[in-house]
């Protein structure tokens, strides 16, 4: 049966490939790219069928791996003329399906653009190609006492091009900002092959702030060819306080109290009991397994400054009802405390066949209430859920555990997730803080935005990409998406 199905798929694929227009494109691509830069055979294209959102897969028509700007431009011109959809891909670590291929579309992988073109220590900037890994920038700058501040958990693998597409955050963004705060300029190819520069070596540029529009645009407006990013001086010292709490409400309130005390911690993270249990088993960070929630609060700066801030945070945490407080004694212990937080997703991946990672953001004061509701949903849907939060930003990552091989579980997990996202909007927040909408949350966009707002998004998209060829169907729903979604019983909450 499976063999038949596979053969059918193959046949279908072959029919498409054989169509004359596409055959012409492939012939032209052969002239542009070296042999290994063009993947047409199914077994070669198969690894590109999904990104980090593995529940959704789609075999692309073909995959191109250009090495030079002129090749990218030529590919875009070809696809533009043939009206072929193009999905841009970095490392494929995204969690919302932003790089999931579209049917009969081209995957444009920027994996070969991995050169760090320049590190300027005096100007505190790095000029890099889009396929450079996030962490590689910090490594290249380390000798100058500088680093690239945004640090998504996937930073050893994810690329700066992908970070720009998603406006990625990390555990230090309350103090150091998101990608949008740390990119100075972009060299960008538009869908028709035109190359433009956005931003410059100065802190601003004449005209509209197109950098703000481009960053976080999920590969729908243009192809990043080069980025100049800001480098930040590495603090002399960083130290973490780890506090245990007997219930999540007390932990949530402690977060608000730290902010109320005028402290902006370098990082402020929270994990619930299910998350610490999964993580402890995996990395042995020494977490308090009896606690209902733990908070990690980091301070960085000069040794005197850190001592001052750590003691202030300690006082607030004690007054807020922490049952246990530990302070990292040295760098090794600090990294161990963080290792668990950074490994939370893979750790949960070990204890469940599949999981969905949510990304809602809500006002901090409602974190405790949200956790309580998530626990109720968990019982209602009969699915386990571990919670890791960027508590300082109110950005939640509930990890809904399920088994896709059990009939109905994926659907239940999806509904559970949708509930959390809708509640995030209801609480005055958003469906996505840093992972992007992609295909995963495209329907929930109908909850967060009105028809006129969505129409404006389409108009903005049209200004850059009039035939909607770049990453079509992602991030911004069509009116049809929304009417279908509303029919399934989720009306939009009009503010």
């Amino acid at each position: 049966m499976d063999m038949d199905k596979q053969r059918d798929n193959l046949a279908e694929h072959a029919v498409v490939v054989a169509s004359t227009a596409i055959a012409g494109v492939i012939k032209a691509l052969h002239r542009i790219l070296p042999e290994e830069g063009l993947l047409v055979a199914e077994e070669e294209a198969r690894p590109y069928e999904c990104d980090g959102l593995t529940a959704y897969r789609q075999l692309p028509l073909l995959v191109v791996l250009p090495e030079s700007e002129s090749q990218v431009v030529a590919i875009l011109k070809l696809c533009s003329e043939a009206k072929l959809p193009v999905v841009i891909r970095g490392a494929g670590t995204g969690l919302s399906g932003g790089a999931t291929p579209v049917e009969n579309g081209v995957v444009l992988s920027l994996a070969k653009f991995m050169r760090i073109l320049e590190v300027d220590p005096l100007a505190r900037t790095a000029r890099v190609q889009p396929g450079v890994r996030n962490l590689a920038i910090s490594e290249a700058a380390a000798g100058h006492g500088l680093y690239y501040a945004p640090d998504p958990s996937s930073q050893i693998a994810c690329t700066i091009g992908g970070n720009i597409a998603e406006n990625s955050g990390g555990v230090h963004c309350l103090k150091y900002g998101l990608t949008v705060h740390n990119v100075l300029s972009l060299r960008l190819a538009l869908i028709d092959g035109e190359v433009i520069e956005i931003g410059c070596g100065a802190l601003d540029s004449p005209g509209y702030d197109l950098l703000a529009l481009l960053i976080g645009s999920e590969g729908m407006l243009g192809v990043v060819l080069e980025a100049t990013v800001k480098l930040t001086p590495k603090p002399q010292l960083a130290q973490v306080v780890m506090a245990s709490f007997a219930d999540v409400v007390t932990a949530g309130n402690a977060v608000a109290r730290i902010i109320a005390a005028g402290i902006i911690p370098a990082g402020l993270e929270m994990m619930d009991k299910a998350a610490t249990a999964a993580v402890e088993d995996f990395v042995h960070a020494g977490y308090d397994l009896a606690a209902a929630a733990i908070l990690l609060a980091e301070s960085d700066g000069t040794p005197e400054e850190v001592a001052e801030e750590i003691s202030a945070m300690r006082a607030v945490l004690e007054a807020s009802g922490a049952t246990d407080i530990r302070i990292s004694a040295d760098e090794a212990e600090r990294l161990r405390f963080w290792a668990g937080r950074k490994a939370a997703f893979p750790a949960v991946g070990r204890i469940t066949p599949d999981y969905l990672c949510m990304d809602g953001t809500i006002p901090r004061k409602r974190v405790a209430e949200m956790l309580t509701r998530i626990n109720e949903f968990s019982e209602e849907y009969g699915l386990r859920c571990a919670n890791v939060f960027h508590a300082g930003d109110g950005n939640l990552h509930p990890l809904i555990m399920f088994d896709a091989n059990v009939p109905g579980e994926l659907e239940r997990a999806t509904s559970f997730g949708a509930k959390i996202l809708e509640l995030s909007v209801e609480m005055g927040g958003t469906i996505t803080g840093e992972h992007g909408v992609g295909i995963e949350k495209v329907k929930q966009m109908c909850v967060q935005f009105s028809a006129t707002e969505l129409a404006l998004f389409h108009a903005l998209k049209g200004a850059f990409d009039p035939h909607a060829l770049l990453n079509p169907g992602k991030a911004v729903p069509t009116p049809r998406h929304c009417s279908e979604y509303r029919l399934t019983g989720t009306p939009r909450a009009q503010p």
């Binding site: 100007a123 505190r124 006492g145 005197e304 960027h390 850059f464």
Partner: protein, 358 residues
């Protein structure tokens, strides 16, 4: 307040129908900035008031006509601030004008720009439709970032009815130091310091009489400020808050000169400019003020060669005819026109205020 919004929509509908442009105006404190003032005034100053402010959320939401000084006072009472230190340029300055002009003060180089702190907007577009983008939370990547696009758009894309901003705690302590340094040396020092973890929050280099002086402000934890002070040296400045206020509001002697004032936005490491006239440098070298009546072409070429751009900030009546901001390359201008079209298809909001082309 609801009637005001309906009235705005009525005015916009009529303007679109009659093709008569509207000139969005809050307190009028930034009338001097940008291209010519065209169209019937749409007074946004009447749509005022703080909508929400919860210090522990680090977010304030206010209507466009809210006076800046009211917002600053409310934040100060809770030990917080607008970290981009917007210049007022007049007693009537409003929040809407501060965001639309996109102008930031001395803290910009280290704290961030106006758009860096914009979290969300309620916008009325050229159809008179009210739309919400962004929100009141720190992180939000749902949809294109329309709210940040509004910062510095000079009111050409719509009426910013409400704006939500991230706010920050005021630093525990601040101190200002001054040392003598020639321009080249000052640029070297500022860039060198910026590459180290020092709590510098503002810099200003200027020539006064026979001296060339570099003034800098340290902000942060007591221990960090004390350590940096020992490291940097220099003399302590008395009445420092007034110094930075006067600088931000351009009330110092340098800005009193009547000739055209240019704002050059450059890479901080750009060497001293060889251009006629007097200069004052802020933002660690990234913002350079030039008071001179040299031909616009000379100033713009100089800025472009240094890797940046020049804006005719004040004065220069003849030079203004050629545009206040540096021209965009053709493909970028084409994109700008399409974006303008998406928000304001008839072209009723502040025509010509940014570029002659729209």
């Amino acid at each position: 307040m609801r009637e005001i919004v309906s009235e705005f929509a009525r005015r916009i509908h009529r303007a679109a129908l009659e093709r008569v442009p509207l000139r969005l105006r809050g307190g009028g404190s930034k009338d001097f900035y940008g291209g010519p003032l065209l169209g019937e005034i749409l007074d946004t100053g009447c749509y005022a008031g703080i909508v929400a402010y919860d210090p522990t959320e680090l977010v304030i939401t206010a209507r466009c006509g809210t006076p800046l000084r009211e917002i600053e006072a409310v934040l100060a009472a809770q030990g917080q601030m607008l970290a981009f230190e917007p210049p007022h340029f007049g007693a009537g300055a409003t929040l809407g004008g501060a965001i639309a002009s996109g102008l930031a003060g001395p803290r910009r180089a280290t704290a961030g720009s106006v758009r860096d702190f914009v979290l969300g907007v309620k916008l009325m577009d050229g159809h008179g439709e009210v739309m919400n983008f962004g929100g009141q939370v720190m992180k939000n990547v749902a949809g294109f970032d329309v709210s940040r696009l509004m910062a510095g758009a000079l009111g050409t894309l719509g009426v910013l009815l409400e704006i939500s901003l991230k706010v920050l705690p005021r630093p525990a302590t601040e101190t200002t130091l001054r040392l003598e340094a020639q321009q080249g040396k000052a640029l070297e020092l500022m860039n060198g310091w910026a590459g180290r973890p020092l709590p510098i929050s503002a810099t200003c280099w200027a020539a006064r009489d026979d001296e060339e002086l570099l003034t800098l402000r340290l902000s942060g934890a007591h221990a960090a400020v004390a350590a940096a002070r020992g490291l940097i040296g220099g003399e302590s400045v008395d009445d420092a808050p007034a110094f930075w206020d006067e600088l931000r509001e351009q009330r110092t002697a340098f800005f009193a000169v009547g000739i055209p004032l240019w704002r050059l936005s450059l890479p901080s490491v750009a060497p001293p400019l060889v251009l006629p006239g007097a200069q004052l440098i802020e933002w660690g070298g990234s913002q350079r003020w030039l008071a001179c009546d040299a031909p616009a072409e000379l100033v713009r070429t100089g800025a472009a060669k240094a890797g940046g751009h020049a804006t005719l900030f004040r004065g220069g009546i003849e030079a203004r005819a050629a545009g206040v901001f540096q021209d965009l390359p053709a493909p970028l201008m084409a994109l700008h026109k399409k974006l303008k079209q998406a928000f304001d298809p008839v072209g009723i909001f502040n025509p010509g205020r940014m570029f002659r082309e729209f």
